[in-house]
Each structure stands twice: as C-alpha cells, then as structure tokens.
Amino acid sequence: MSGYIPISREKRAELLESVGLKLENLFDVIPDEIKIKNKDFPGLNAQGLSEQEIAAQLSNLAERNKRVDQYDSYLGAGFYDHYTPAVIDHIIGRQEFLTSYTPYQAEMSQGTLQAIFEWQSYICRLTGLDVSNSSVYDGASAAAEALLLACRQTKKTKVWVSEGLNPEYIATIKTYFHAAGLEVEVGALNEQGTAAGTYPSGDDYAGFLIQSPNFFGIIEDMRELVKKAEQNKALSVVSCDLISLAMFKSPGEVGVDIACGEAQPLGIPLNFGGPAVGFLAAKQKLMRKMPGRIAGQTTDTEGKIAYVLTLQAREQHIRREKATSNICTNQALLATAATIYLALNGRSGLKEVAEQSAAKAIYLHNKLIQTGLFEAVYNKPFFREFAVKLRHGGSLDVLNKKLLEHRVIGGLALSDDVWLLAVTENKTKKAMDDFVALVSNLIRQENILGG
C-alpha cells in the first residue's frame, strides 16, 4: 500500500476477481508500444517518502529562503504584505471549504455558494458597481478579461491601456490580445506620473483602462477616464486596489463601467506570488457578458432562500466555443478568505488598514527625501507605494545587495536610480527610521553613488 491509498493490492486483486476481472489485465487496453518500459526516470524517486521525510525535505527548502517577516521588506508592485488576521486560516482550513469542488450540486454546497454570494456583495459595495463575478485567477488576468468584455460589448477590436498599469498586467493583456487577434495600445504617462491628458481619441476603442493607485502608487482621477471613454464611445475600466477604496471614491461612484484588480492585499499571504485572486465587477448592462462563475439567490421547493450558480448559459460547459470565456472555476477559497478579511475588519478596520498604510508610506517618503539623497520621481499624492530617485546617480542594485547583508529587502529597482517602495500597516515607525538611517549610511559610506 502506497501513500494515501486505503485499499491494499491484495484486497484490490480480490475485489476485481469477485467481479470477474484481473489486476494484471487492468491496463491491457494501453498498446504495448506506449507502455512505460524504461523504469528509471531522472528527477523522480523510485520510492515514496514517509510523512516525516517529506516534512524534513520541505522544511529544509523553506529554510533556504529569506522571509519578509524576518527581513525588513519594502517590496510591493502588485503584491502587498498586509496583516492576516488569525481567524482566516482557521475557517478556510475547514475541510468543508478546503476540499469541496465547484458548487454544481447546490444542496451539498450552500456554504461555498453563500460565501461566493457574499464575496460578490462585498466587491459591489467596495467598487460601487452592480454585478461582480465569483473571482478570476489574479489581477492580471482580471484586467485582460475586463478588456475582452469591453470588446464583446462594443464589438470593437482595439483597447487603450495606460502605462500606469502594473507591467506584469500589461504583459498579460498583450498575450491574451495577441492570441485573440485584438489590438492593445499602451499610452505613456504624463510627466506627473498620471494618465491625465494622455487619453487617445477615436471611436474605434472598445475600452480605456487605467490603474488607481497606479504602478507608482499615485491616485488617478477616474473622472477624466469616464469622460474620455464616454466621448469616444469606449468603456471605462479601472484596475483598482480594494483596501484603498476604504479611503477613496469608488469606480462606480464616478461612473466607471468595469472595475477589476487583485484581492491579495485582503490578508492573502504572499506565497511567492500565488495563488492570487482577481475580482471583476461591472455595470448592470454588462451582466450577461461577464466571464466566469456567478452565484445567485433564489428559493427552493419550499420557498426557503437558496444559492445557486446562475447565468450559466454564458459559460464554456454550455456554449463551448461561443462562451464568454474559457474560465471554468474561480478562486473560491481565496475569495472566501478575502471575504472573511472584510467581515473581520468591517468598515472601521478596513479604513484603519488603508489610513495606516497611507500614513506610513507618506512618513517613509518624507524621511527619505529629508536625507537629501533622494528626490520624488513624481509630485502627486500616492497611497501605499511611491517612487524615489537617487539624487546623485548610482546603483540601486548595489544598494539593495548591501541592504540584504543587514537583513533588509529594499524596494524594487525600476532602473539604476529609481526605487519603488511599498509599506503597509505592518511596518513600524522604528523599522522605517532604522531603514532610512541604514540607507543613508550605506550610500555615504559605500561606493554606491558610482562614478
């Protein structure tokens, strides 16, 4: 008996014999020429390991990493280290949520279905939009799906995307659009680091997409997006941050057609970048063209409130090649985790997360500027992330390497001298003070400023 298989080989042979079958004939249907003969494969152990051995091997690998809870990290750029309340792991670790499948059989999955319904409700309340789906793979694929939705709705084949969108998302959109034979135009930011005044004109655009806060952390004015999109008969799309929406106007409030983004900041662990959980919400008129699963409320035979997967005629298992998307499942468990995060924090807690992140980012930004060693790249208000530039040139790669020796993971070097730094409520004043002092010392002592 191997691994987790509960029936022994002897018993298996016995069971098969009892119905007139033989264990050794099970795979007779596989032609000999493709049966595995070479029994040794590099990279794959012949024998399985015990649980103890697995735990030892995996722990050894994990220990080779440097962790953001042991190092002082300033990385963001799409994934953020927010605090994960203890309750979340306890609930999503329950096997009823963890091990179940997509809720096809409503009677056996009311828990998952109601959780999805609540996720959709929270997403609508946060984004100010009418309809949310049950989640998609991540923020990047959410942006791609949002723009494909715009193309379906408008029957046009070109979209415009601001360069303020996370470059990983832009790359993903390009991949999807190239495959679909559709066109993506990427518009450069203005010199203040926003999309203001950069929108194109022409009635052949299906959608305009900006990110807010954008890749440089700057809050964009979505009103101009809505106006420009309307003028050009395109749909307005915003890739937004859910935590920031506790402080800032929502996309729906200013008339945006589609909101999308990454919900990882809602207490989902970093996990080296995945799994992630994307959200996608839109105005009512787009409901039947949305991709992905959607849960709805209805009643059962006795009139009791019940939840089901609905609007399924949009989907691949019914429409096949004419479906709104090939998406077959969602990120239910992570959507549930994010929903629990919102339930635990409530409006007051979420606002506090947002305000502390913003306050600390502003604090760190000012401290760095005060050293005289950095200048702001853009002079626009930012949320939890900002870009600064070495005033006297030099190499941030060298600085980041030096910082590592001091158990600090510095910001993301966007070029030799432009540094993107993110902080959340997890960061303490002391850590930031120490960081700024360390950075100043390193720059002054070491040969980081270059020639």
Binding site: V29, I36, A46, A140, T329, R347
Partner: protein, 488 residues
Amino acid sequence: MKYQTDLIFDLPQTGDNTNRILKKCDVIKPNFAEFYGEDLLREEELNIPNLSEIQVLRHYTNMSAKNFGVENGPYPLGSCTMKYNPKVNENMANLPGFRNTHPLQPMETVQGNLMLLYNLEQQLNAILGMDHFTFQPSAGAHGELTGIMMIKAYHEANGDFDRKVMLIPDSAHGTNPASAAMAEFEIREIKSNADGLVDIEDLKQKIDDKVAGIMLTNPNTLGLFEKDVKEITGLIHAAGGLCYYDGANANAILMQTRPGDMGFDVVHLNVHKTFGTPHGGGGPGAGPVGVKKILEPFLPTPLIKKIDNADQSTYILAYDRPQSIGKVRAFIGSFSVCVKTYAYILAYGRQGLAEVSEAAVANSRYLLERVRNSYHVPYQEPAMHEFIITAARQKEKYGVTTIDIAKRLIDYGYHPPTVYFPLIVPEAMMIEPTDTETLEGLEGLADAFNAIAEEAAENPDLLKSAPHNMSITRPDETKAARNPILKA
C-alpha cells in the same frame, strides 16, 4: 443546527472596531483631505458591517457545515478526481519560509522556492514524458489557453498563418473549444464512433493544411482509453499540426503510459485533480503546462533554470526569452499549490504513482461491475478511472431522470456524480471513485446506486422529491436566471 444562515450583512453590528486587529498607528496620520484633495476622497463611509470575531466565526462555521467535502464521504464526481488531499501538504505549503516570500525578492533570497520549482519540473517531465514545464497557468482551462497560444505562436514563427483550425472530439470538455476560440481558432469537431472513441475515418476527412492541431483527452471524457492515439498523433504530425493533451484524466495513466510517449507536444495537468491539491470549492488550483523541446521557446516567461557552479548549484528565473508568448498572469504562478504538488509526488515516487493509477482504475472498474445490472451502460470498451452509466432505462420506464438519481444519492450521504456530461450521452452519469476511495466507500456507493434503481421502480416520487434531509431542496434555477439577484 440552524438551517437558514443569515447573510453577513444582516447580522447586528458592533461598534467601532478600528484597533481590534491592528495596533494603534505609530506615525502621525497626516490630514488626508489636504494631502489628496477632497474630491478624490470617499464622502461616505463604506457600506460594510462592523462585526465581532465570534459573529464572523459562527457565521462561516455554520456555512461550512452546509458543504460536503472529501473528508465527509465518497465524492465520485466524474472528471474532477476528488481524491484525498493530504494534510501534511497543507502544513508544508504554510511554512513561513514559503508563505512569507514576495514574488519580486532577489533570486538569491528565494533559492528554496526556485529549487522546489526546478525539482517539480523534473518530476513532471518524468511523469508526463515532456521536456519543460511552466507553472504560470492557474487552472486547467488556463493551461489549455496557454498551450493553445503556444501552438499558435509556433505556427506563426514558421510563417504558417493559415493554420486556423483546431480539431476537437465531440466528447471533449467544454473548455477545449472555448480555449481554442479565445486564440481565434476555428473549431472542427471530430465524431466519436459507436465505441465512444475518436472516429479515425472522420478524423482523416477533417485533416487538411489548415489544421493547427488537435486537442485530446486520454482516457477521454467517456473514461475510455484512445488506443489508436499513436495513429492519431501521427496523422496530425504528418499534416503539420501539433497535438495537445488535456490532462484532466491523467490520474488513469500515471506511470503506466505518458502523453509524451503517445506523441503529444504540449500537455496541461490539473494538479488539483491528479496530484491531490485541494479544490477549495472551485480554486485555487494550478495548471502547469509541459512541452516538448520544439515548443520551449514559446513558453511563458519566466522559466526556472539551474546553474551548476563549482561548489553548489544556484537557481534563477530566466526572463530573456524573445519568442515567448509572454505572460498569462502576474509573477511566477500559484506557488503554494506547487508546494503541495511537490510534496504529493514525493509521497508516492514512481512506484507509488503507478499504484495510484492502478487503484483509480481498479476502483472504477469494480464499481461499474457492481452497478452494471441496475443501469444502462452505453459503452462496452473497458472503463479506465471513471465510467458512464445512464438513467435511460429509468427514464423510459418510470419517468425518473438522472438528476433525480443524483439528488437521491445525497440522501444516502454521498456526493452525486457528474451529471449530463459528456453532452453526447443522454442522461449521463459520470462516476469516478478515485484511488483514495475506501472499501466501505466503494461498497456503500454500489449498494446505494443499486438500491436507488429499485426505488425508481417502486417509488419514483421518492427520487423526484429528493434530497430529503438537506437545508434546501432543488433551488429554482429558472427563477435565479430570469431575475438574477447577484448581491446583497
């Protein structure tokens, strides 16, 4: 237990809970209205409730009790491979050394992660018979799309812009045509023959110089092994096309045969099926995609590479790949799902994986024989890891349909099988007991199916009104779709 769970928005609210979870802010909060300007800021507070911790816990704990998981009992949902999800794998994925690493950390600080992914790639290459894997795709359908995009990129790189046709059997998963359509392919459907296998004559007629490739599941969605697979892949290759293997049913063939040896050029795997990572009520899963050497240049970016130095090896992420299709999502992939996959494969090794497929097929065949006399069995070819029976007989004689049988199975404490799929079989029930089903689970399922067949004859209303002991019974899907209520 309470049958109706209020929505979280209907619970009585507590007061301000600003600092229940977070400590007080240790820097001075600036005047935000001044910093941002009034008109960017929200005017009213968010409309989401403030609740206490115990309210939230009770709410979701009670909801979870209305779900059925693999640890509750048999879950023979065909094509979904609802096997046991090992607990130690969850613990491993949650090790702080994995969990608290950021995707943009310098490579020298994440050598453990990169080594794990590199080793996992070697394992998957061995198991599937491929040369390289990408971990970017986040699910099976996402893997299909990625694979199809690579097929398109391959033909484009060869200047073969007219190859616009993807061949797909009529029994295929709906995601196959949907994925191909997202990459602008025209779908040409291949018929199944009376045995439930690809009709080779029909295939031959549909191959021409417009064909970009074929998408095939083997064993197919009817649970039958396409024994002519070498001929099929040979025909496609001879016509200049590539062959895509939908790995949804890979549990049936683990270490018995390999897609690479069958002639496939690109495969995706559903690790949440084959390698026992939890389905999570729909996700997160992962859909790593493997390719033969000819497609390596087109794999998404980045790839993991090993560099052998004199003293030790280091692992890097390779980004400079000019022919790559690009990215299909942000960062590297669903890393923590990969950790669970790796731990799963370690637990079995080559010999153990061969026993996984043996147990999966044996359980399926045994269960089929145990229920064969009670239901119509549409195909006589030997079933692999799953099989199809139908309610055709019950429908004709007693007006009882597949959905009634599925719902009645719930009364017996079992999750129903996949129903009404594949679309080419009327009243289909697709049953997959998996390799981790217990003896009592198999016998119990067989007894339940047989008992229900008798009930269909004696008391059809018992089936039509099922299930009888759940919090709800047969929600009105028509009402849900006609007047959608999608939020509170």
